[in-house]
Structure formats: C-alpha cells, structure tokens
Subunit: 362 residues, 2 copies
C-alpha cells in the first residue's frame, strides 16, 4: 500500500516536503500555493477541493472524501457518509507523518490514509482550499482522454479573434495533441509556421490559378500552425518572453512574404501601378496593425478585464481573407480590401487611444 | 523690496507653502523634492546649491550666498566672506516667515533676506541640498541665452543614432527654439513631420531627377522636424505616453509613403519585378526594424545603463541614406542597400536576444 512507499522516503527527506499521488494531475498553482504555507513539523497540510458541485457522480464514488471542520481535516476515507471536500492527493508534510504511518502499520493498516487519519484524530491535518484550476485523477484511458481534452480546452485565449476562435484554434488544438509527443520546441514550431508562409508566398508569386489555390491552402495552414507554438509552450510550461516575441517577429515576416507573393502574382497579369500600390498599402497597413496592437491590446485588456473580445481585426482575419480571395481568384480586390481595412483600423486605434488620453488629461 | 511682496500674500496662503523668485528657473524635480519635506510651522526650508565648482566667477559675485552648518542656514547674504552654498531662491515656508519679515521691516530692512536672516539666527532655516539639475538666475539677455542653450542641450537623448546626434538634433534644436514660442502642440508637430514625409513620398513618385532632389530634401527635413515634437514636449512638460506612441505610429506611415514613392519612381523607368521586390523588402525590413526596436532597446538600455549607443541603425540612418541615394539618383541601389541592412539588422537582433535568453535559461 502507498503508506509503505512514503516510509521508504524517510531517510531521504527533511520536513516540510511535498507529497503527491503520481497519478494525480494538478495545476502548477496548486504546488506554488502549498509551498507558501508555514507548517509546524508535527503537522500535515492537505489540499482539499471543496467545490463538490463540479464532480460527476461516478467520479465522486471513486474519490477519497474529506470532512473539514474549522480548517482541519477531521475525517478522511473513500466511504464517508458525511463529507464536504475531496482529497486532491497533494500534501505538505512535516516529519511527524512517518511516526503516524509506522503507528498505523503496527495497527495493521499500511495505507497513507490510515496515517493521515491518525494525525487527523489529533487535529494535526490542516485543510488547504484549492486548487486554483482543474485537476485530474488518472485511473484509466477514459480519464486520460478527459484530462487531455480539458487541458487542451484551457489553451484557448480570450484575445483570440473570430477566425482563430472558430476555425484555427479547434484545428491547432488537434495538431498540438500530436505535437506534444514530439521533441519539437515552441520556437521550432514558430519557425515551421513561418516557413509554411514563406513557401506560400513563393507559390503565390507563380503565374496561374493553381498557384493561388496551393498558396492559399498553405497560407491558411501556416496560420493554423501558428497557434501550436503557444499551445505546446503553455502545456509544457515552456512559455517565455523571448518565445512570444520571436513568434510575433516571424509572423511579421510571414505577412510580408505572403503579400509580396500576391503582388508579384498580379505583375504577371501585366498591371503595375495598381497592384504595387495595393500591395504596398496592404503590407504597410498589416505591419503597422501589428505595431499598434501592442498598445491597443493593453487598452482593451484594461477595458474588458478577461471578457472575450467581440471583434478584433488581427492576423487570423487577414490571412483568412487572403485564403478566400486567392481561392476565388480575386487577388487585387483582396489586397485592396486588406489595404482599406487594415489602415482604417489603424486610424481607428489612434482615434480611440487619443480620446482615452484626452479624457485622462481632463 | 521683495520682503514686502511676500507680506502681501499673508492673507492668501496657509503654511507650508512654496516661495520662489520669479526670475529663477529651477527644474521640476526641485519643486517635487521641496514638497516632500515635513516642515514645522515655525521653520523655513531653503534649497541650497552646494556644488560651487560649477559657477563662473561672475555668477558667484551676483549670487546670494549661504553658510550651512549641520543642515541649517546660519548666514545668508550677497557679501558673505565665508560661504559653502548658493541660495537657489526656492523656499518652503511655515507661516512664521511673516512674523520674521514684519520684525525685519520694523528694523528698517524690507528684503526677504533680512527676514530669513532673522529666522536663521534662531536656527529655524533648514538647508535642503539641491536641485537635481541645472538652474538659472535670469537677470539679463546674456543669462536668458545661457539658460536657453542649457535647456536645449539637455534635450539630446542618449539613444540618439549617429545621424540624429550629429546632424538632425543640432538642427531640430534650432527649430525648437522658435517652435516653443508658438502654440503648436507636440502632437501637431508629429503630424506636421508626417505630412512632410507624405509629400516627400508623393514627390518621389513623380518622374525625373528634379522630383528626387525635392523629395530628398523634404524627407530629410521631415526627419529633422521629427525631433522637434519630443523636444517641445520635454521643454513644456507636455510629454505623454500617447504622444510618444502617436509619433512612432506616424513615423511608420511616413516610412511607408517614402518607400512607396521611391518604388513608383522606379516603375516609370520601366522596371517591375526588381524595384517591386527591393521596395517590398526595404519597407518590410524598415517596419519590422521598428517592430523589433521596442524589445531590443529595452535590452540595450539594460546593458548600457545610460551610456550612449555607439551604433544604432534607426530611422535617422534610414532616411539619411534615402536622402543621399535620391540626391545621387541611385534609387534602386538605395532600396537594395536598405533592404539588406534593415533585414540583416532584424536577424541580428533576433540572434542577440536569442543568445541572451539561452544564457538566462541556464
């Protein structure tokens, strides 16, 4: 039983130490919270989930239940008739846990719960409310799948634009599910997405409708893949300021190559001034869109405080418009539309932030 | 005498209040420092400049001198034989100043110094070290000019690039000297500089060498004028986060218009693919240069801590290269050079920040 496993660690640890079930998946914040506790050496703290409403009936049956009174665990076990919390399996232990386990063992019960029960009967098990996010007890294939789905679902971002939310993100999450089992790093994925856009731009630059179709699919694929770097990074706790910046800079180059390809495509059809200007204004508008996004997003975050943005003209929308325009063989019209909306959006952002600033000055 | 002027304020103020000579020009920080002092109502605090070495002999003769002992002013006057500080003319006064001035008046001396001398003899004048920056006693035309020059000199920025430092800044400072006497706001100046670049781009787009010359001069003028908005803002304490951002966004559009004009200029000469690609890569490289500058400058500031940057490829250099290239009628070569150096600079920045990040991870 698991009490025996804990006793094997006695010679190797000094209290207080964290103890967790190897088949429980808990959010990082849970560990951080537990490590903040100032524990007496004769105490044990247990992270208890008090939010019983969220558990399915079948999950409750399997779970180790806890009865908490005034911040202390007073009863613990699988078959409590009365309980108000679930044992998350994360403990912060003083060294007294070992004495308790030995005592339980000599009484003939070698489970960890038996040791905890002994300490609880002496009022020495603190109940800590938590964890901040969802957690999982992985017992079978069904629970693995459930945990995966939940973790992937949490990768969605409230700042996702409409195309990202309804098209790109659901697809990128499926890809990420495979990618997490490869050694590909988030930065490598950023670069792969950039390469896909670079090739899309090169193909766009070729004469003929077939090039447009292939380029369109590749550009949209690149836009979908562009979500995976962040998803993998968040799943593997590999997010970094550099990674986010690197991805953003590569996206700017990806945009530039896609627009260049489309402009060159139009040159084959004999036009010059029109497509050059449309291409110029759309690439400038897009790049300056990204340039103004930093400050504008700060402003939005302040105003929305976590609510989802209703309509945000970002890269997801731009690339999707290019995807549609290329498929429909309407490249010049697409560039003109993008030139107009990206630059209008920039003017709108300047106006919104100007008004905000004027208000603050008063 | 000025003691009489102070007495006129008696009915209108409650202590502690700031009192300053109307012909002394002090930095904002001096007032901020004085306002932090917790003053007893029977005290007066005087901001004393202890850095005597920086004064010219002639200035010292004119100045009101102060002898400070253990944080208190013990003597004050124009003709002290022994002194260790200069009276900056900035006081924080308790209401006891009025009693002292009346007493001095009844003794036949109506100067502020006489009142201060009375308080000083009772150990009630605190000496505060300061001010943080240069200050001026404006007595004649020569001192006005000196103050102007000093204030303008301080507008230089350590992050200025080489062209900015040696060409644009000296010229923009001369323009700013006139602009501060107009009601033009910093944001309006940003817009004027943008308009100049917009017109430069439009003129570049016209066929013929004359257009290149006029466009070149106008573009470089716009780049010089681009320094004035910040200079006026700093001089008039009108700097704002919005203003800095607005200027930066308009600069991006100014860049885009200048590059577009040059590209169209090349189209008149019959070329298509070459100039379009050169124009594209140079405008993208430049805009992404500005996109990466935010983070890269943070990194530089951290490393340099106030030392001047030795070589920074920024907008000042880009516009100056365009100025030279257009004057020399070498537009395509200029675009190619700019495409190469801006994009190489971006790759270099990614590399530098990647290395920095890798080091930190270890």
């Amino acid at each position: 039983e698991n009490g025996v496993s804990v006793l094997c660690a006695e010679e190797h640890v000094q209290g207080p130490f964290l103890l967790t079930m190897c088949d429980h998946l808990l959010p990082q914040s849970a560990f951080e919270e537990m490590l903040k506790i100032h524990l007496n050496n004769d105490e044990v703290a247990l992270l208890v989930d008090r939010d019983l409403g969220k558990f399915a009936h079948s999950d409750l049956e399997e779970a180790t239940k806890v009865l908490v009174r005034e911040g202390k665990v007073v009863q613990i076990g699988k078959n409590l008739s009365q309980y108000n919390g679930i044992d998350t399996g994360l403990f912060l232990c003083g060294e007294s846990i070992f004495e308790a386990l030995k005592k339980a063992q000599s009484d003939g019960d070698t489970t960890l719960s038996a040791g905890i029960r002994l300490l609880a009967s002496e009022g020495r098990v603190r109940a800590v409310d938590g964890p901040g996010g969802p957690w999982f007890d992985i017992d079978d294939n069904r629970s693995i799948e459930k945990a995966e789905q939940q973790l992937l679902r949490e990768l969605k971002k409230t700042t996702d634009g409409p195309i990202s939310r309804y098209i790109n993100r659901p697809l990128s999450l499926r890809i990420t599910r495979y990618l997490i089992n490869t050694p590909l790093t988030p930065n490598q994925l950023s670069f792969l997405s950039f390469l896909a856009a670079l090739v899309a731009g090169a193909i766009f630059a070729v004469k003929g409708y077939a090039a447009l179709v292939i380029g369109a699919v590749l550009a949209q694929f690149s836009s979908i893949l562009d979500g995976c770097d962040g998803e993998v990074a968040r799943l593997k706790y590999q997010t970094s300021e550099f990674g986010g910046w690197f991805d953003a800079v590569l996206d700017r180059y990806a945009d530039a190559f896609v627009f260049l390809g489309l402009t060159i495509h139009l040159l084959w059809e004999g036009a010059t001034l029109g497509p050059v200007m449309a291409g110029y204004f759309s690439v400038s508008g897009s790049l300056i869109n990204s340039y103004t996004a930093h400050k504008y997003d700060d402003y939005l975050r302040n105003r929305l405080r976590g609510r989802a943005v209703t309509l945000r003209l970002g890269r997801d929308v731009r690339i999707f418009l290019i995807f549609l325009g290329a498929l429909l063989n309407r490249v010049l019209a697409t560039l003109v539309v993008l030139a107009v909306i990206t630059n209008l959006e920039n003017i709108r952002r300047i106006w919104v932030l100007y008004r905000e600033w004027s208000k603050k000055k008063e």
